[in-house]
Amino acid sequence: MELRNRPLTRRQFVEFAGLTGVAALSSGALWGCAAKSGDSGSAAFNIDNADWSAIVAEAKGKSVSFYGWGGDENRNKWLDTTVTDALKKDYDITLKRVPMGINDVLTQLSGEMQAGAKEGSIDFIWINGENFYSTMQNGYLYGPFCQRLPNFRDYVDANTEITYDFGKPNNGYEAPYGKAQMVLLVDIKKTPTPPSTAADFFTFCKANKGRVTYPAAGDFTGTAFISCLLASAMGADQWKKLTAMNANDEKAIRDLVEPGLKYLRSLNPYLWKNGTTFPADSGTVYTMFQDGELVLHMTYDPFGWINDVKSGLIPDTTQSFILREGTVGNTNFMAIAKNAPHKAAALVAINEILSPKIQLSQYETLKTVTVLDVSKVDSNTQAAFKSVSLGKGTLSLSELLAHRLPEVSGGVITLIEKLWTSEVVGK
């Protein structure tokens, strides 16, 4: 306050000038560094023409950063031990897991790209859906790379949904990581007959007035659950029509979804707080379910919740179920940043995660559905996949896959979230 009204004293002027000089020098030095390291990287190794053995040789001794959601302790532990150890032992690569929400990852990635950094800090990312689509659109991803990975070529059936991410072709810019599908959870001791159709679900909410809710649209699980209910209320055929639509057809989408929205509105009076407000994220819903404030939970991890039974977070009378009209599922992926400093190591790491060994371990430890075509792996591994016991209360894999519905594309999802906010909450 005082400073503003007085001219600078001589000492202040000297300080000011000195600081400006230091700032200019240090930013100059930073530019220098960035330019130098960028040059040496590209001159030493040209990844686009390298064959697999050259890529493995280049990757040796490097450390590679893997950015992604870190909210699942079991997965974190698995990545830090099984995957990290395998990479160290087989390829001398150090995996650095960076737990970060996808929105923050994208903010960091786009920030670095906008700043023109030739070498960013992100190597590869756990990514999915509209997040992938917008980064690819903006040219922030490296690729296409899938066909360069031996394990992708050998074990992945590229004629399945794996080439699509939320209805959009991924063109080899992301490699599959695991498959997810939405299931619902109840404690059968408290609610012995879980609903099996959309009509049943309505009756269930009515019977358990105020003790059912779901995360608001915008939360990943929330949006997926809303999709499930919409699909169930609209019917699978109508939903499939929706997955083929483009976000520009706003009017047509509105008309198609309206019966589903009507169904969601009809649930409101029987939901928690009469459907006037919804928990902001699925973590809150899960806490409320554990506390007994709610009788229903939903998760995109169809078998993984069994680990929480083992650790005692939820009772062993918990059971998963789906609505017979269908349940949405998707594949989640790994993509490499365009300015990744260690692209070769990232390719090797992704290839390793796609190996039958790691995919089997992921299925055994985390119960994540594999992205491999199991008929392509050797017979021993096939038998091992078959013998994994999923645990009491889970649905069988074939039951799940028989009712699997695709997710709609990114733009349509955003529109559905907006429609839910304006036409369902509190209506």
């Binding site: 929105n103 906008q114 902001a280 506390d291 955003t414 909450v425």
Partner: protein
């Protein structure tokens, strides 16, 4: 200095984005499109009103509480430890920490609901009144009060202390009751400090996003939460929407800053 430059760059970049200038996406022509969209979106009015309401309610209550607390501190000559406990520690706790405590105390499955349930005051957890996630913003206001009452007290009690000694003795020797002295002498003399802290609290409550994000309802959403949701959208174009919302927010805050300067000027002239 470097920090100031970075800050200025960030602000400038934000303003440019609000007008749709994002060279890295190939957008270089300024447009008012995003401001028009922001100003015409259906939830904007309810969102602004909600933010203003939360800011007004929490700053009015914080000022009343803060002035009272300040009066208690000066009158009872509360010592250092007392001030530490009642003022400094609450000011030092982060808002998010307070927000999480409010959740664990006042939510439907929170401590209070459980205690009331177990002693039979309420029939089930669902009967507990909505505090967290209520569209009246109770939980948000509660969190702000925890920190803003001590803040108001902190910025007024130095002045109040110096006033009470000189003038209140004069007033009481003329026969005024302590309460009368307080409202007729102390409050008017410390009013510039009170008004300034009121404005700071108001501007803060209006512009902060983390507390309404954690404790607010799905609808209406506070203005900063709307901006945050747009900013964190995977669609990079939505940043322009976020920046336009920020522009609207900044405009309202600028009015508050202007009021603040007016108070300072009047104070200077008064001397």
């Amino acid at each position: 200095m470097l920090l100031a430059l970075l800050f200025a760059y960030g602000v400038l970049n934000g303003i440019l984005q609000g007008f749709g200038i994002m060279p890295y996406l190939g957008l270089t022509t300024p447009t008012l499109e995003y401001y028009t969209e922001a100003l015409t979106r259906s939830d904007l009015i309810s969102s602004i009103l909600f933010s203003l309401y939360v800011a007004a309610a929490s700053s009015v209550l914080a000022t009343m509480g803060g002035v009272t607390l300040s009066a208690v501190i000066t009158r009872l000559r509360v010592g250092r430890t007392g001030r530490l406990a009642s003022v400094q520690i609450p000011i030092m706790t982060a808002h998010t920490v307070v927000a999480l405590s409010v959740i664990s105390l006042f939510s439907g499955s929170g401590l209070l609901a459980r205690v009331l349930n177990s002693i039979g005051v309420i029939g089930s957890q669902a009967d507990f009144p909505t505090v967290v996630g209520s569209s009246q913003g109770w939980a948000i206001i509660l969190v702000y009060l925890w920190k803003e009452i001590p803040f108001v007290a902190f910025s007024t009690f130095a002045i109040m202390g110096s006033i009470s000694d000189r003038f209140s003795e004069a007033a009481s020797s003329l026969g005024a009751s302590p309460l009368r002295t307080f409202f007729a002498v102390t409050v008017p003399l410390s009013s510039p400090a009170i008004a300034k802290s009121f404005l700071i609290v108001f501007a803060f409550a209006f512009g902060s996003y983390e507390v309404p994000l954690l404790l607010g309802s799905t609808l209406p959403r506070a203005l900063p939460v709307l901006a945050y949701i747009e900013y964190s959208s995977p669609e990079l174009l939505d940043r322009a929407h976020a920046m336009a919302l920020n522009g609207i927010m900044s405009f309202i805050t600028l009015i508050l800053a202007w009021l603040y300067l007016r108070i300072i000027q009047r104070e200077r002239r008064g001397r």
